[in-house]
Amino acid sequence: MILNVHNVSKTYQSGNKKLTVLHDISFTIEAGAIVAIVGPSGSGKTTLLGLCAGLDRASAGTIEFNKMRMDDRSEDERAFIRNRYIGFIFQNFQLIPTLTALENVMVPLELQGEKHIRPRAVALLGKVGLADRLHHYPAQLSGGEQQRVSIARAFSTRPKILFADEPTGNLDDETSAKIVSLLFELNREAGTTLIIVTHNSELAESTQRIIRLKGGHIIADEPTSNTPLAV
C-alpha cells in the first residue's frame, strides 16, 4: 500500500462561514495502481489530490504516503517528500516560463542535488518526442508540447506516485489521445502509481479503478475492466 487516506475532511473558512469541501474520505491505493478520481465540478477532486500530494493539509483525518504521515510534517518536509517520491502533471502544464523545456525537466533533479542530469533529461524529452525542442521556452511550444514537457518532468525523478490533474483538460481530442497514450506508456515502463483527476470518462475508464466524488463524499469506489487485480 502506497497511499492510505483515513477519515480525511477539509474545511475552508470564508468570512464567518465554514465551508467543508471533503467529508470523512477514506481509501487506500496499492503501489503500481492506476486510479481515476472523477466527479462533477466542485465535488472536491482537486482538493483531494492536493491533500494526497502533500500540497495542502487536511482539517481532520490522516494521510499516509509510503507509510509516512503527511499531515503532521512541516511544509519543507512535505516539499522534500514531493521532490523525492511524487510527480505532478497539471491541466495548465505549469511550466516555469523563464526556463527552457530542458531546464524545466532538469529542475526537480537539480533540486535533488543530482549530478550529470542533462543526458537523462535530454533522453526523456526525446522519449516524449521533443528532441528538437530542448531549448524552446514554454511560450514557444504548443499546448500538447508543453504537456509533453510536463510529463517528461514528472517522470524525471522516477517518482513512486504520480498525480495528474486533468492532464488533457486543455487539449484537443487528438492531442489528448496522444498524451494519454504517452502517459500510460511511460507509467508502464516506470511502474509508477498513477492517480488521475479527470472529467474525461474515456480516460477514467482506461484506468484500473475509479473513485467517484460528489459533494465532498465518495459515492463509489470500483475497479474498471482494466484492473489486473480486484482492489
Binding site: K67, M68, E77, A79, E103, P138
Partner: protein
C-alpha cells in the same frame, strides 16, 4: 523510513541557487534594470557628496595655511594702542597688518560708485598662498605705489580696465590688477562685499579713518617654528582676552572651515539620502509587483520540492545582485558627478578642490546602496514565504497584510532604525535624526493615506453616470494591480521637495522685495560725521529726496552688567551672562519716542529728557535683553569711548528688523549722549536707478567717507547669493527629482505589464486606440493631479512652518507658480503614462496574447 531521513539535510546549493536566479531573471532583465535604475541616482548623489567631503577634508588639511595666509592672525575692531602695538611687535618672524572697512569707491572713467570692502594691506601678507591676480605680479607689486587690486566682479560690472583709476575716500588709485582669489575667501563672500586692496600707507590720506566708522584690524604673523608660536600664544592669551582681541591660528581656521563645510555637506547628504529613499520605495514597489508576477513560478518550484528557503534565496540573490549593480552604477555616476561638484560649489568653498576618485566614498556608497536595496527589497520578498504550492492547482487567497506578519513588522523597524542611524551620522543630535525620520515617515504616511482615501472614495462614490471611458479611468485607480499608492507617494514626495525649495527661495526674495515697495525707504547713508550732517541733508534736499530718518549713532561697549565685568561674568556660571556680551562695539542711538517698527513689550520708554542726577533708563530690544540675561530694573555700565555711563534697564522693545531703516538694540533717552562723539545715518528713497547713481556719485564726490547702501543693489546681491546657494541645492535636488521621474517611469512601465491582458481584451472587443489612450490618460491624470496637489499642499504647509518658525516671516505664496508646478507635474505624469502604453496599444492583440509576459 524515519522522520529524520525526510528532513532536508543538505545546505542550499549556492551554485544552483545562482543558476536559478540567473535563469529566472532572463526574461525580465529589461524590467530589472529599470527597477535598479531607481537607486542609481540616489547613490550617485551620495557618492558625489561623500567624495567631495573626503576631498574637502584632505584639501583643507593640505591647504590649511593658505586658508589663513599666515600662521597666526590677531583681530581687533579698533587700532592697536601703544601697549598692544608693542606686544604685537614682538610676535612672529614676519608681520603684516590689514585694516578692513566698508566704503564707497568711485570709478572715475564712468562715474560708477559701489559699496565695497576696502582692505588696506601692509607687509608681505599672504605668507602662504598668494593674492591671485591678473597680471600675476600685480598681487605683490600693487604695494609699491598708489595702486589698487579690484575684485574681478567689480571690474566686469564697471567695465574697468587695468590702468583705470578709482577713488577711495579722498585719494585716487590706479588699478594695478584684477583680483581673482585671496586666501580663505570664497566666491560667495566676495559677492556680498567685493574686496578692493590698497597699500596700508595710503589709508590715512584717504580721510576715511574718521571716528564712528567701523574698522577691523588684522595682524598677520608668520613663524619659522610652530612651537615658538604656541609658546608665545600661550603667554599673550590673557592679554589678548583682556584687550578684547581675537586670534586665529592656521589650525583653528582649518577646524572652523572644516566644520562649516561639514554642515553644508551634511545638509547635501540628507538631500541625496532622500533621493535614495525615494528610489528604494520604487525598488520595493517594483519588486512587489515582480514577485506577484512570479507567484506561479514560485508555486511550481515549491510543488517540485524546492524548500521555502531555496525559493526565497533565488529572489534574494536577484535583488542583492540588482542592488549591487545599481549601487556600483550609482557609484560610477557619482564619481563622474563629483568632477562637476567643485565647479558647482566653487563659490561657497574657500579651498581648491581636487577631483580624484575617492575609493572610501565609493565603498560607502556601494555599501549603502546594497544595504538599503536589500532592506527595501526584502519587504516584498518576505511574501514568498507564504506562497503555497497549492497555487499550482488553484489561485490561492491573498497573503496576510503586512502588519500581521511579524517578519515584515521587524523589517519595517529595521528600515526605520537604519534611516535614523544614517541621519544621526549627518546631523548633530538624535533628536534631529528622529525629527528627520519622523518627517520623512509622516510625509510617506500622509501621501499613502491620501492615496488609500482616494481609492476608497472613488470606489464608494463611483461616478456611474459618466461615460465608459471616464468610468474605466476612475476604476483603474482601485482595481487589482493599481499603482495608486506608489505613484501618489513618489510623485507627491518629488513635488513636495520641489515645492519647498521654490517657496523658500520665493519667500526670502519677496521678503526683501517687499521692503523695497512703493514709498518705503530704499537708501541708507551712514558714517556721516557731525560736521557733515547739515551739508548731506542739504544735498538730499537738492536732489528732491525725502528724508525718512536722520539718526545719531554713538559707539560704546558694555563694561558691567549688574556689577559684573567680563572676568567676573566668566567665572560666574550661574548668572548666565555670556562673555561675548562684553566684547565688540554697540551702536546706540538716543531718542524720546518709538519708531513705527518697534513696540514696548515690558516697562516704559523714558520720554522725559535727562537732567543730571537722574537715573538713565535705557530701552533694550527684547531678544538682546534675553541674550544678556537682564530684566527690567537691572543695571548696565557702558563705556562710551572712555567715559563710564551707569544705566538702568527701563523697558524692552519688540523690533521688526526687516524694514529698511535704522533699528537699535539699545536706545538711550534724550539728553545723555548729545555731546558724545557720534556720527549720523540718513534714510531716504530714490525713485530710479539713474537717480540713485547720480545721487551716489554726488555723495561720494562731496563726502568720500560717507557710505551708501542701495537696496536695489542689496536685492541684486541677495538674488545672486540665493542663486548660487539655490543652484547647489537644485543640483542635489535634481537627483531626487530625476529619481522620482525614473520611479514614475518604472512604475508606469510595470503597470503596463499588469494591464496588458485587459488592454488586449479591450482591443479584441473592439476598443479603438483613441479610447485606450483616453482611458490611460484619464487614469494618470487623476493620479498626477492628486499626487501633485497633495505634494503642493504639503510643501505649502512645510514652507509655512519654516517661514513662521525658522525665518520669522509671513508666508503668502503667489498662485501662478503653484499652478505652473501643479499642471507641469500632472501633465508630465500623463505624458509618461501615454508614452509607456503606446507599445501595447500599437501591437496587434494576437501578438500580445501569444507573447509570454
Amino acid at each position: 523510513m524515519s522522520t529524520d531521513q525526510l528532513l532536508p539535510d543538505k545546505k542550499p546549493d549556492i551554485r544552483w541557487l545562482l543558476l536559478m536566479a540567473w535563469r529566472d531573471s532572463r526574461r525580465n532583465r529589461s524590467r530589472l534594470v529599470l527597477f535598479m535604475s531607481s537607486i542609481v541616482l540616489g547613490i550617485a548623489a551620495l557618492v558625489a557628496i561623500f567624495s567631495l567631503s573626503d576631498h574637502v577634508r584632505n584639501d583643507i588639511n593640505n591647504q590649511a595655511k593658505t586658508l589663513l595666509g599666515s600662521d597666526l592672525v590677531i583681530e581687533s575692531n579698533k587700532a592697536a594702542d601703544s601697549s598692544v602695538q608693542m606686544m604685537l611687535d614682538t610676535l612672529g618672524n614676519q608681520r603684516s597688518q590689514e585694516c578692513r572697512f566698508a566704503s564707497m569707491i568711485y570709478f572715475t572713467k564712468n562715474n560708477g560708485t559701489r559699496l565695497v570692502q576696502v582692505l588696506a594691506l601692509d607687509g608681505d601678507y599672504p605668507y602662504y598662498g598668494r593674492l591671485e591676480t591678473v597680471p600675476v605680479e600685480a598681487g605683490t607689486d600693487f604695494r609699491k605705489g598708489q595702486q589698487a587690486l579690484v575684485d574681478q566682479t567689480l571690474m566686469l560690472q564697471f567695465d574697468a580696465k587695468i590702468g583705470d583709476s578709482i577713488r577711495v575716500g579722498e585719494l585716487t588709485f590706479i588699478i594695478a590688477g584684477t583680483l581673482t582669489r585671496a586666501p580663505g575667501r570664497s566666491g560667495l563672500s566676495t559677492t556680498i562685499a567685493p574686496p578692493v586692496y590698497i597699500p596700508f600707507r595710503y589709508l590715512q590720506q584717504t580721510g576715511l579713518l574718521q571716528k564712528g566708522s567701523r574698522f577691523n584690524y588684522s595682524y598677520y604673523f608668520r613663524y619659522d617654528d610652530q612651537t615658538a608660536m604656541d609658546k608665545q600664544l600661550a603667554a599673550i592669551s590673557p592679554v589678548l582676552e583682556s584687550k578684547g582681541l581675537d586670534y586665529e591660528t592656521a589650525e583653528s581656521r582649518k577646524r572652523d572651515t572644516g566644520r562649516q563645510f561639514e554642515d553644508v555637506s551634511r545638509f547635501l547628504t540628507l538631500i541625496g539620502f532622500i533621493a535614495l529613499l525615494l528610489g528604494c520605495i520604487g525598488i520595493a514597489s517594483s519588486i512587489n509587483i515582480y514577485i506577484r508576477e512570479k507567484i506561479p513560478a514560485i508555486a511550481i518550484l515549491r510543488c517540485m520540492g524546492a524548500s521555502t528557503k531555496q525559493t526565497f534565496l533565488i529572489y534574494l540573490i536577484q535583488i542583492t545582485i540588482l542592488g549591487f549593480i545599481g549601487a556600483v552604477t550609482g557609484a560610477l555616476l557619482g564619481t563622474v558627478a563629483q568632477q562637476v561638484l567643485p565647479f558647482v560649489l566653487k563659490d561657497i568653498l574657500p579651498v581648491q578642490i581636487s577631483t580624484s576618485v575617492s575609493w572610501p566614498s565609493v565603498a560607502k556608497g556601494i555599501g549603502l546602496g546594497v544595504i538599503l536595496s536589500f532592506l527595501f527589497g526584502l519587504l516584498p520578498l518576505l511574501s514568498i514565504r507564504s506562497i503555497s504550492p497549492l497555487y499550482t492547482l488553484r489561485v490561492s487567497v491573498e497573503p496576510a497584510p503586512a502588519w500581521r506578519n511579524p517578519w515584515q513588522v521587524l523589517l519595517f523597524a529595521a528600515i526605520l532604525f537604519f534611516i535614523t542611524l544614517f541621519t544621526r551620522l549627518q546631523v548633530q543630535s538624535w533628536t534631529q535624526a528622529f525629527i528627520f525620520t519622523a518627517g520623512v515617515l509622516a510625509a510617506f504616511l500622509l501621501l499613502t493615506a491620501v492615496a488609500v482615501l482616494l481609492r476608497g472614495m472613488v470606489r464608494r462614490f463611483f461616478p456611474s453616470s459618466l461615460s465608459y471611458l471616464w468610468r474605466q479611468g476612475f476604476a483603474n485607480l482601485y482595481r487589482p494591480n493599481n499603482q495608486t499608492i506608489l505613484l501618489v507617494v513618489t510623485i507627491g514626495l518629488g513635488t513636495l521637495f520641489i515645492g519647498i525649495l521654490y517657496f523658500m527661495q520665493d519667500m526670502l526674495m519677496s521678503r526683501v522685495s517687499m521692503s523695497a515697495g512703493n514709498n518705503q525707504p530704499n537708501m541708507v547713508l551712514f558714517d556721516i560725521q557731525t560736521t557733515q550732517k547739515a551739508a548731506v541733508t542739504k544735498l538730499v534736499e537738492q536732489y528732491h529726496l525725502p528724508l525718512y530718518q536722520d539718526v545719531p549713532i554713538v559707539t560704546m561697549r558694555i563694561e558691567e552688567i549688574n556689577g559684573k565685568n567680563a572676568a567676573a561674568a566668566k567665572k560666574d556660571s550661574v548668572s548666565g551672562i555670556p562673555a561675548r556680551a562684553f566684547e565688540g562695539e554697540l551702536r546706540v542711538t538716543y531718542r524720546d519716542s518709538l519708531t513705527n517698527t518697534e513696540k514696548i513689550t515690558a516697562g516704559k520708554l523714558e520720554t522725559k529728557p535727562y537732567t543730571p542726577g537722574d537715573n538713565i533708563y535705557i530701552s533694550l530690544e527684547e531678544r538682546y535683553a534675553n541674550h544678556l540675561k537682564v530684566s527690567i530694573g537691572d543695571s548696565i555700565l557702558f563705556n562710551v569711548q572712555g567715559a563710564l555711563l551707569p544705566t538702568i534697564v527701563g523697558s524692552f522693545r519688540d523690533v521688526d528688523w526687516r524694514r529698511v531703516q535704522t533699528n537699535f538694540r539699545v536706545i538711550f533717552p534724550a539728553g545723555v549722549l548729545e555731546d558724545a562723539p557720534q556720527f549720523y545715518v540718513l534714510v531716504t528713497r530714490v525713485s530710479s536707478n539713474e537717480a540713485s547713481a547720480s545721487f551716489q556719485q554726488a555723495v561720494v564726490r562731496q563726502f568720500p567717507n560717507v557710505s551708501v547702501i542701495d537696496l536695489g543693489l542689496i536685492l541684486k546681491v541677495l538674488d545672486e547669493v540665493l542663486d548660487k546657494i539655490g543652484f547647489v541645492i537644485r543640483f542635489m535636488a535634481g537627483f531626487s527629482i530625476i529619481t522620482g521621474l525614473i520611479v514614475l517611469i518604472a512604475s508606469v512601465y510595470v503597470s503596463k505589464f499588469q494591464r496588458i491582458q485587459e488592454t488586449v481584451l479591450l482591443r479584441t472587443l473592439g476598443a479603438s486606440r483613441k479610447q485606450l489612450y483616453m482611458i490611460t490618460a484619464l487614469e494618470y491624470f487623476f493620479l498626477g493631479t492628486l499626487a501633485a496637489g497633495t505634494g503642493i499642499l504639503l510643501s505649502l504647509g512645510c514652507s509655512y512652518i519654516l517661514a513662521k518658525y525658522s525665518f520669522d516671516a509671513s508666508f503668502s505664496p503667489s498662485l501662478m507658480p503653484i499652478l505652473v508646478l501643479f499642471f507641469s507635474i500632472s501633465l508630465l505624469t500623463v505624458a509618461i503614462g501615454l508614452f509607456n502604453s503606446r507599445g501595447i496599444v500599437n501591437t496587434p492583440p494576437l501578438e500580445v496574447l501569444r507573447k509570454e509576459v
